[in-house]
């Protein structure tokens, strides 16, 4: 590999430009891989937001809308469903478990969700992982207990035993607060990387209790008010909930039950399969993801064109080098090979440095991304697809290297042994 050594020595002689060129390629490679990793990880974490749930049921609207408010805490339900409709289906023989959900309140921008014990038992995310408590316990019989998602506790610095007041409605700035009925933090969940982290969980009874003296969306005044202690002694069975989740004994009955719910005569309802709705939602967001990927491909292309430019500009000043090589017996194809090697070496060092840079970036930003976006970027070896991308970059570099190689070939044929300055 004497030619390769020559190419290396020649590159080392131009180490400043060579380093810059390789660095540009490294940056673009790092960007491409980072986008790819975030993309894969975002898709994974998106798809694993909810698992193990066979049907999500809400008032009739769109399936994406239902998924958004019931799982992602985005947007609002168009309507509630009656408590007895929930009880009707929860008691159905195909149903293994049912989780009622009641939404509509918030606390300093975080959504509050009313639910019951079965939520902690049956709700699953990721690879069928159950929710786990980092500290404390799930809410029990007292209606004014709250279990915080990990991010809520972190961001608002709550610990067990703290009291907090819920606000009516989901706006970040709430004008109406349920300040007559404070809640006590009894449990904090472990981090899941899903919207659960950003949720405050209370019992359905608690949800009912804070609204018990409300009429037409405003709290009662004067002697119409009901205190927390009074509420504790009242029947706190809700009239309506926002949605519910179902786990079935047998997956095969999913479609039959879905049809049954959709054709329910009691009230108009909609049952969706979470996987299908997630797919639908992702296909809407997938365009942005693809655009990002295409952009980073173009950045790689820019890096390679930078390399091409650097090599091409060097050709003229290296005519002497070529002529000397010709005079000591290098044939034109030797000269061409030399330039291909040069392009390859630049791209290879760029790719290696780019991968290195990626790991440095991941190591540096991992905790931050996990905490703020629920993204867990793996420090793993490049995936098969990533290897393909890297190989593609090298192949593209070789292809581009063939342009200056061809020029140098022509040039060295024309110049021969004469040295032109």
């Amino acid at each position: 590999m004497y030619l390769f050594r020559l190419a290396m020595a020649s590159l080392a002689n131009r180490r400043f430009t060579a380093t810059l060129t390789a660095f540009a390629i490294a940056l673009s490679v790092c960007l491409l891989l980072a986008v790819e990793r975030v993309r894969v990880e975002a898709r994974n974490s998106f798809a694993s937001t909810i698992s193990g749930t066979d049907l999500i049921v809400g008032a009739r609207s769109g399936s994406v809308n239902l998924l958004l408010y019931s799982v992602f805490r985005i947007g609002n339900a168009t309507n509630n469903i009656r408590w007895d409709s929930f009880e009707h289906f929860a008691a159905s023989p195909q149903v293994k478990w049912a989780i009622p959900i009641s939404l509509g309140d918030s606390h300093r921008g975080y959504r509050v969700m009313g639910t019951n014990q079965s939520y902690f038992e049956h709700y699953q995310y990721g690879r069928k992982q159950n929710l786990e408590l980092a500290s404390g316990r799930a809410f029990a019989t007292d209606p004014f207990e709250v279990v915080l998602g990990a991010e809520v506790a972190d961001a608002l610095h709550y610990k067990l035993g703290d009291k907090l007041v819920l606000a009516h409605g989901v706006a970040v700035v709430s004008l109406v607060k349920h300040d007559d009925k404070p809640f006590t933090v009894v449990g904090i969940l472990k981090r899941t990387g899903t919207p659960v982290d950003r949720t405050l969980h209370i019992s359905l009874g608690g949800m009912e209790a804070i609204h018990i003296d409300w009429h037409n969306g405003v709290p009662a005044q004067g002697k119409g008010r009901i205190s927390a202690d009074q509420a504790r002694n009242m029947d706190l069975t809700p009239q309506a909930i926002t949605a519910f989740m179902l786990g079935l004994n047998n997956k095969i009955s999913t479609f039959a039950l879905q049809r049954e719910i959709n054709e329910f005569r009691g009230e108009p309802m909609l049952a969706i399969l979470p996987g299908v709705a997630l797919q639908e939602l992702w296909s809407m967001m997938g365009t942005a993801e693809k655009a990002l990927f295409v952009i980073s491909l173009f950045v790689v292309l820019t890096g390679l064109i930078g390399m091409l430019t650097a090599i091409l500009t060097s050709l003229n000043e290296r005519r002497r080098e070529m002529a000397i090589l010709r005079s000591v017996g290098a044939r034109p194809w030797h000269i061409a090979t030399l330039l291909i090697f040069e392009a390859f070496a630049l791209a290879l060092s760029g790719v290696i440095a780019g991968v290195g840079l990626l790991y440095v970036c991941i190591a540096a930003s991992r905790g931050y991304l996990q905490a703020n976006y629920g993204l867990d970027l793996p420090m793993s070896w490049p995936s098969e697809y990533e290897w393909t991308l890297l190989a593609g970059i090298l192949a593209a570099a070789l292809l581009m290297g063939s342009v200056p190689a061809w020029r140098a070939y022509r040039q060295s044929l024309a110049d021969g042994l004469s040295i032109r300055l």
Binding site: Y2, L6, A9, S10, A12, N13, R320, E321, I324, L325, R326, S327, V328, G329, A330, R331, P332, H334, G416, L417, S418, I419
Partner: protein, 236 residues
């Protein structure tokens, strides 16, 4: 030896679309001969060297090197033939600046098995051949061998170039104004070394220059303008 080292007959050359540049009815260079060829710039000197090196093909006529008709060989074969049998020294900046002195001298051996083999036969190894040649040319210092070529003085660089032209004993050394960057005393000293080494290696020397003052040192001297019938009268 029946063949002359170089034998040109009825050689004609013109660049496409240009008038005849070279028209040489006959020219010979014998083995072991040193020849001074006077050629001002623009006289077709560079083109003639290109033809002898097999880089260009003549429009007509024949070029024989060691009895081999160059015009019958393919471009690749001419390249190989050139490096096997010819060493080159140019005016200035002959060396690849990013290689060491030793690596510069060894360059032809990487492209020609014939020369690598001859170097090994005579000196044991290519390394030793390079060191021996450099020592003969007055570059004895061992440290100097591993220095970057562009850290040497011009005079030293030209001696390194000479060592490179001579390694592996090519039959012909072509020198194109190798002394133009040297002062007079250095020129003569350089030439004496070059002559000695060529004699030692049994190589012929074709020395092209416009500096007539060096001519008496050679076995024979010629002017390209006399040789070339296509030359314009002004150049004669």
């Amino acid at each position: 030896m029946t063949h002359a080292l170089i034998e040109l007959s009825d050689l004609g050359f013109n660049w496409p679309g240009h008038p005849q540049l070279l028209d040489i009815p006959a020219f010979r260079l014998e083995r072991g001969e040193t020849l001074f060829l006077k050629g001002p710039s623009g006289s077709g000197k560079t083109t003639l060297l290109g033809l002898l090196g097999g880089v260009h093909k003549p429009s007509q006529g024949s070029i024989r090197l060691l009895g081999q008709e160059l015009t019958e060989l393919s471009a690749g074969a001419r390249d190989r033939f050139r490096v096997d049998h010819t060493g080159y020294i140019f005016q200035q900046f002959n060396l690849l600046p990013f290689l060491s002195v030793r690596e510069n001298v060894e360059l032809p051996c990487h492209f020609s098995n014939v020369r690598a083999q001859r170097a090994r036969q005579r000196h044991g190894s290519v390394d030793k051949a390079a060191a021996a040649l450099l020592a003969h040319l007055g570059l004895k210092d061992k440290d100097l061998l591993e220095r970057r070529a562009d850290s040497l003085s011009i005079g030293q660089q030209q001696r390194v170039a000479a060592a490179r032209a001579l390694i592996g004993q090519p039959e012909l050394v072509i020198a194109d104004e190798p002394t133009s960057a040297l002062d007079y005393d250095a020129r003569e000293a350089f030439l004496q070394l070059l002559f000695a080494e060529c004699r030692d290696a049994g190589a012929s020397l074709l020395f092209v220059s416009h500096d007539q003052s060096l001519a008496p040192l050679f076995d024979r001297n010629l002017s390209l303008a006399e040789l070339n019938r296509a030359a314009t009268p002004a150049e004669v």
